[in-house]
């Protein structure tokens, strides 16, 4: 489904990604782990099309289509979804209006009719329940005054509404207490499907206890330095990143789990 070949990307002239290769098939869940500053978030942002990052070399394709030719909104319509590490607060735009506009943009792209306000309200309320978010949050400004956990649930709510082909979850577990982590994980697991791939970017292994990945990759210094199965995450938890010859400025992953 997603194919990344020799991807190089830089920001303000500094190269962050230095030749990423990654293949993800439909139905698979991949986890990318790595220390801070390894390029994990950059990879997520580049996949979504953030123009702050310049792709200097390499290819990204989604089901054979060259993603690098597409604008951010076109990538989203082709099925790329990024759950933000720091979801943006937009006062003055209601969450409901935002969600309906997004869903209708997708529907229009697929040649379907737009949902009217009443139809959408019904759908949004149902999906809110799935992520344990009070429907009152639909009426507030986008993420406005939401707690960290509420923002993350609002991201998963969007993923469930937009039904992407590839969902990229950027540090979705960060800042969550154990209850919120379970709710969010439940939402992500509800996304798992044969025709959908999930890419989880995380510093810590604890999320992987709830959402079990098929493949784990270690990103360090802008390259994938090791790939393996689920057991690789467990090994990282036990041994840290040091044995891979990778420096981590922070504590070893296990310290925070």
């Amino acid at each position: 489904m997603l194919s990344i070949k020799n991807l190089h990307a830089s920001v303000e002239g500094e190269e962050i990604l230095k030749g990423i290769n990654l293949e993800i098939k439909a139905g698979e869940v991949h986890a990318i782990m790595g220390p801070n500053g390894s390029g994990k978030s950059t990879l997520s942002q580049v996949l979504a099309g953030n123009e702050t990052f310049e792709v200097t070399q390499g290819e990204i394709s989604l089901n054979g289509e060259n993603l690098l030719d597409l604008e951010t909104e076109e990538r989203a319509r082709e099925g790329i979804f990024l759950a933000f590490q720091y979801p943006v607060e937009i006062p003055g735009v209601s969450n409901l209006q935002f969600l309906r506009t997004a869903v209708n943009a997708m529907r229009t792209h697929r040649g379907e009719t737009e949902m009217n306000a009443a139809e959408f309200m019904k759908l949004a309320k149902e999906v809110s329940k799935q992520v344990d978010l009070d429907p009152a949050f639909l009426k507030r400004g986008v993420n406005e005054g939401f707690s960290g956990g509420e923002k993350k649930r609002n991201e998963i709510l969007q993923a469930l509404l937009l039904q992407p082909k590839l969902a990229i979850l950027d540090e979705t577990d960060s800042g969550l207490d154990i209850d919120a982590l379970q709710v969010v994980s439940k939402g992500v697991n509800a996304l798992r499907a044969e025709d959908r791939a999930i890419l989880m970017v995380t510093h810590y292994q604890r999320l992987l206890n709830h959402i079990v990945p098929d493949h784990v990759h270690v990103l360090a210094g802008g390259r994938i330095v090791k790939s393996g199965g689920r057991e690789l995450a467990l090994e990282l938890e036990e041994r840290g990143y040091g044995w891979l010859g990778v420096k981590d400025e922070e504590a070893t992953p296990s310290a925070a789990s």
Binding site: N50, L82, F98, T101, A102, A105
Partner: protein, 428 residues
């Protein structure tokens, strides 16, 4: 040194023949006083940014003929008064004959009423600061005098539609005077429209006098075309416990200028001034507001938002003057500005003069652009650029648009805003 330019004598031709004698007399006096009136220049502080957009050519001096044959096919709910080229058109107007409320055109006033009005016209304005209102006083051909007896309540908004037609060059000088007695209530909507292509100037003055406990809401929608220089002044005097609300929504033109002056003269008075300005192309819009806290225990709240696209220019000058005896005044002024292009310019100046020592007075002004991260967030959900920019720009003014108390104005403003968004924002 070159002497400051003065107003052309072409602007001082006699007219106003349909006015009752006392008003005609007043007009003549005001005209005489205008001879050699210096025009605002770059060095005139309150016209610093706008004087170069004020073009008083002799062609503009002629009074536009009021044929009453144009426009006003607007579907306006409720009561309406139509002015065409500064003159009221009775056939197009439709307003109530209610107990305690008199709505009369100047031409229909008897001499006693006209004499009473003539004594009070201009009383709400500091005409040194609003030079162009003086030209209106010397040139008005007609006007509307609204009187509310005590406790009279107008049950629906009164729409006053000011339309000018630029089939030939000229100017129009509409004039409104509202006298709201104790505990009376009225909502007045002023809508400024135009048709035609030739250069036209609209120089308009609206005055509100609120007695104790009166409640007046003024909605002002400025939507004239690219051929129209619009210069407006609104003067307000408030007695004790009265409340005045103003909602101005304006779209730019070669020159748009509005001076809004409010005097809180009795304890317990409140005013709320909201403004939204949108400019594009090479348009220019200048809002000058002044709130005088003369009496103690009054509240004022002012919120203005400017949005400037392309190479347009918006100006906001907000003055708050708290007099020595105005203890326990509560004044709040906020002006936020959004630049949609690198060629646009916005100048904002809060001007606070505080002579009392026990007051609360807050002000804030910001100038910024649309937030790139917010935009990325929206488009990353598949929302198109045009729509994402529109959502973010609407978010900037939503709060003020929502507060407009008249749905028909909200709808008209939204339609015009949508045109602006279509012209300003492109898909990637």
């Amino acid at each position: 040194m070159k002497p400051a330019p003065t107003i052309s004598s072409a602007f001082l031709e006699p007219g106003g023949q349909s006015l009752p004698a006392p008003l005609l007399e007043l007009r003549k006096q005001r005209g005489t006083a205008l001879v050699d009136m210096p025009l605002p220049t770059r060095k005139t502080e309150n016209w610093k940014y706008s004087s170069r957009h004020l073009k008083l050519t002799d062609e503009l001096a002629s009074t536009l003929p009021a044929t009453g044959k144009d426009g006003y096919s607007l579907s306006i709910p409720g009561y309406r008064v139509v002015f065409h080229n500064g003159v009221m058109i009775p056939e197009a107007s439709d307003f109530p004959d209610l107990d305690g409320i008199r709505i009369q055109r100047f031409a229909d006033l008897d001499d006693d009423e006209a004499a009473g009005l003539a004594e009070r016209l201009d009383n709400t304005l500091d005409t040194r600061a609003v030079q162009m209102a003086r030209l209106n006083s010397a040139r008005f051909e007609d006007g509307l005098y609204i009187q509310l007896d005590k406790e009279a309540v107008l049950d629906q908004p009164l729409f006053i539609v000011h339309e000018v037609t630029g089939t030939a060059s000229g100017s129009a000088y509409p004039r409104i005077y509202v006298d709201a007695a104790r505990h009376s209530q009225i909502t007045v909507v002023e809508e400024y429209l135009s048709s035609g292509e030739e250069p036209v100037m609209v120089d308009t003055v609206t005055e509100f006098v609120l007695a104790d406990g009166a409640q007046v809401t003024n909605v002002r929608l400025v939507m004239e075309g690219e051929n129209v220089q619009h210069i407006g002044a609104t003067g307000v005097r408030q007695a004790a416990n009265s409340r005045f609300e103003s909602h101005c929504v304006g779209f730019g033109g070669p020159l748009r200028r509005h001076d809004l002056q409010v005097r809180l003269e009795g304890e317990g008075g409140e005013c709320k001034l909201n403004g939204v300005v949108v400019t594009q192309g090479k348009q220019h819009y200048d809002n000058h507001t002044s709130i005088e806290h003369v009496a103690a225990h009054c509240d004022s709240e002012e919120t203005y938002r400017n949005i400037a696209a392309d190479e347009s220019h918006a100006v906001f000058n907000g003055r708050i003057h708290i007099h020595e005896d105005a203890q326990k005044s509560n004044a709040n002024m906020n002006n936020k500005n959004l630049l949609l292009s690198t060629g646009a310019e916005i100048d904002t100046k809060p001007e606070l003069e505080i002579y009392a020592d026990d007051v609360k007075c807050a002000h804030g002004a910001t100038i910024g652009q649309l937030d790139r991260i917010s935009l990325f967030y929206l488009v990353s959900r598949g929302i198109g650029r045009r729509e994402a920019n529109t959502l973010l720009t609407m978010a900037f003014i939503n709060e003020l648009v929502e507060q407009i108390p008249v749905q028909a104005v909200k709808d008209a403003a939204q339609l015009r805003l949508n045109e602006f968004f279509d012209q300003t924002f492109q898909e990637a």
